[in-house]
């Protein structure tokens, strides 16, 4: 089956109610174009997974696509502050915030990638997150009988990851910080890759270790230059400050549609055929 496809087709693989994990970290290398298309296609009740989210989680909340967010942190960091749409959606009871420590998201994904139902994790007994959230339980270590917290496995239906290079088969390369993207690719049932450019697969034969995610884990590849914007993409571009400011100023549905429309042509530019070197 051909994996390289248009953005619209790739996002059609995401169904309402699915558990979707987002690659990147805060404002860095989010699969932003893919997120925008999810909002355009009005997906609903998504269960969002991310260690530390920012614009991506906020945009999905602005679009009304989200049922719950499992994350350790959701914010734009220092300069741009709290994520207003996420915050409002949680405060109005429209979105359930499942707070984790970033590490407990990782442990939940580690359980999923190992095919086991939960993972022990230290430290959580000091606080009250485990009292309020049923995905944490305290059990007895069967060997020592000591109390230990466990976190339930998170097995995303789809992991969405933006990369620098990918070949037609789906071998994907991330340059610079990889954040938790390898773990996401191993714990999800399906991986959708958006890539800055398509390269010929033979490129990797000389250094197969450069491939971050091997092709057989990948179900869809979409070529989208600047597909992480307005977030940054290491060694290629920094954040788009004016776009982030515009997004944070959105007051109503019309403004959100206008914001998405600005990106539409650019996001959807990839055609069915692959033309090497053009991107």
């Amino acid at each position: 089956m051909k994996k390289v496809m248009r953005l619209q087709e790739a996002v059609k693989q995401i169904e309402d109610g699915m558990t979707v994990a987002i690659g990147g970290n805060v404002l860095h290398r989010s699969p932003s174009a893919l997120i925008r298309e999810i909002v355009r296609q009005q997906k609903r009740h998504l269960k969002v997974i991310k260690t530390a989210g920012g614009h991506d989680v906020d945009l999905l909340c602005a679009g009304g696509c989200v049922e719950s967010v499992d994350a350790g942190f959701v914010s734009y960091e220092t300069e741009y502050g709290l994520a207003p749409f996420y915050r409002k959606a949680v405060e109005e009871g429209k979105v359930k915030a499942n707070e984790h420590a970033c590490y407990t998201v990782m442990c939940a994904l580690r359980a999923a990638k190992s095919g086991i139902p939960f993972m022990p994790v230290k430290g959580m007994m000091a606080g009250d997150l485990l009292k309020q959230n049923d995905y944490f339980q305290v059990i007895n270590d069967p060997f020592t009988n000591d109390a230990i917290t466990v976190v339930r496995a998170i097995n995303p239906d789809v992991a969405m990851i933006h990369v620098h290079e990918c070949d037609e088969k789906g071998n994907a390369v991330i340059y610079g910080p990889k954040y938790d993207d390898e773990l996401l690719s191993l714990s999800a049932k399906k991986v959708i890759i958006t890539t800055e450019k398509i390269v010929v697969g033979s490129k990797f034969k000389f250094n197969p270790e450069s491939v971050t995610i091997p092709y057989f884990l990948v179900s869809a590849v979409v070529v989208i230059p600047k597909g992480a914007a307005p977030c940054s993409c290491s060694k290629m571009y920094d954040i788009d400050r004016s776009s982030i400011k515009e997004f944070l100023g959105i007051q109503n549905k019309e403004m959100l549609e206008k914001y998405l429309q600005k990106y539409e042509q650019r996001d959807r530019q990839s055609k069915n055929g692959v033309r090497y070197g053009e991107y």
Binding site: V26, E99, C102, Y103
Partner: protein
């Protein structure tokens, strides 16, 4: 060189905080900062350039001892902390390091703290029906209990931040210090106590900005940044990203 203490007002609280934090880092320690952590990011670089050349600097993207001087104002998790580094040791491995008891220092923050050492980074109001949904504790809930020294900093010191009782306990205990623009708290026998006072502040001001009665026996005055510290500070952070937490 002598410092003229009558000129103390020329110092920005961020400079004093960064130097105080840097001085807490000892040589050879493995030190981590996460997202939204501009003051610790700069302080770690300062310590390594001053008295702790063998400190191991760790961050979210995973660059070990990154030397880049192009720091970002909007993020402390970007690739500028990967470029010019010695090796790669990403977040997942840093957490594991703390879990097995080998991380020396982690810098964490929160929105409310009380005198019992409870930290709230989750919500204002009820957890499931919050008045304000906060970003969340990021690594706090697992790092504060497991790291050797959890250092908390907060660029705000007011009665909304230092409260009688936190609205929610994201995590608690095992606090090494809390650094604010006004003072430094220590922590012993499950209580915060006033350890040092900023030369820019006073006991009165600190008490007026703290929602619980201060506990102290004797305290000292925080030493101002030395000219050498300021010189290096301006070299490693020429564009003043350390002030960004105060610009909100």
């Amino acid at each position: 060189m002598n410092i003229n203490y009558s000129n103390y007002k020329k110092f920005h609280p961020a400079d004093i905080m960064v130097c105080s934090i840097a001085r807490m880092i000892e040589d050879h320690e493995k030190v981590f900062h996460g997202v939204s952590s501009h003051l610790p990011m700069v302080a770690m670089k300062l310590a390594k350039a001053m008295h702790a050349p063998e400190a191991v600097l760790l961050n979210i993207p995973g660059g070990v001892n990154s030397l880049s001087s192009r720091l970002s104002k909007y993020s402390s998790a970007g690739d500028e902390l990967w470029n010019n580094s010695e090796a790669v040791f990403p977040l997942e491995k840093i957490f594991d390091l703390s879990m097995r008891g080998e991380l020396d220092i982690a810098f964490l923050s929160g929105v409310q703290f009380d005198k019992y050492g409870n930290v709230n980074a989750s919500v204002i109001g009820e957890y499931h029906k919050p008045k304000v949904r906060l970003p969340g504790g990021a690594g706090s809930a697992v790092l504060i209990p497991t790291v050797k020294k959890a250092i908390i900093w907060r660029s705000k010191h007011d009665i909304k931040t230092f409260v009688e009782h936190v609205d929610f306990v994201t995590t608690r205990g095992n606090i090494f210090k809390i650094v604010t623009p006004l003072c430094i708290f220590g922590y012993r026998v499950s209580r915060l106590f006033l350890e040092s006072v900023s030369p820019l502040s006073s006991m009165e001001e600190i008490q007026n900005h703290t929602g619980f009665s201060l506990d102290y026996n004797d305290f000292n005055i925080i030493k101002l940044p030395t000219p050498e510290e300021m010189r290096i500070l301006n070299r490693i952070d020429p564009h003043g990203v350390r002030y960004s937490e105060f610009e909100k």
